[in-house]
Symmetry: C2
Subunit: 148 residues, 2 copies
DNA sequence: TTATCTGCAAATACTTTGCAGGGAA
DNA sequence: TTCCCTGCAAAGTATTTGCAGATAA
């Protein structure tokens, strides 16, 4: 599944509504950040988002704060691609965003891997170890065609 | 610094040999760190290793440098459990250390998961996307029996 | 002796936070 | 007006690095 590319402004009403529900405000930076994420289909770091914003539009600290907020509202999903910084992707309505990535160790290109092969194994592992509420993080790394 | 209380262990010959091969030295901190890892079966962070060393035994920076060295010699393996710091486990001779973890989101307890379910899928994903040298990182998260 | 190591402190990189002024509702 | 939000700067955490003295071989 794609992430919001079919409905360019679909996120705004949802954003406004969810913000209202938490007595939070619909501000310029928050709209601008969602707009940036909508235009990029790959996971973006705070710094990348900041760089993509019209310059002077908002502070880096505000990007960090906004990403926490949007994450708590389940409008974005945080990914850890193992390079020491958080990355975020826009979530489609009703999508839990669970998927994986194939990351090039040469140029950092990212391919989205939509299938999840682990869900059945989770239950097995949970039962065997007495754990509840099991989730997992799975990322693939390799060398992309261009970098070979 | 001195390490009069540091006794030779099973890894020492291997360590000494590999160090010699790279014209590196067999020093107190390096022996002490391997000894710490040998006594702990769970992945340890630099800070944990540092804290477990006899106090004043070596500097935190030296722990970081030693872990890089030991990793490059394939005597330890680095894991990223998603909490913003690297963790390390001792590797057995000839072991590539590939396995996964089940981490409690409550108390950070770690269960080792020895099987790997992904190896066949890797090839599939590699071919489909034209990638080479594919690897993966997979970690499970949940709530352990004690924390439920 | 000599090249590698180490402690120390300073520097980096990513992220969070305190505070006072600015802004949405 | 009332809170919430923002910029700015400072602080926090994990990690790396420059340097001069210490040490293994």
């Amino acid at each position: 599944m794609k992430h919001g590319h079919c409905h360019p402004r679909a996120e705004l009403p949802k954003l406004a509504e969810q913000l209202r529900r938490k007595s939070r405000k619909l501000t310029g930076p928050r709209q601008a950040i969602l707009e940036i994420l909508r235009r990029h289909s790959h996971p973006m770091s705070n710094k990348e988002i900041f760089a993509a914003l019209p310059k002077g539009d908002c502070d880096l600290a505000t990007v960090y704060r906004s990403m926490h907020l949007l994450e708590s509202m389940k409008m974005v999903k945080r990914f850890d691609l193992g390079d020491g910084m958080a990355r975020f992707e826009l979530l489609a309505e009703g999508d839990d965003g669970h998927h994986h990535h194939l990351v090039c160790t040469g140029c950092s290109a990212v391919v989205e891997i939509e299938e999840c092969f682990i869900r059945e194994l989770e239950e097995n592992i949970a039962v065997r170890n007495g754990f509840k509420a099991i989730t997992h993080k799975l990322e693939f790394f390799g060398i992309c065609p261009k970098c070979q």
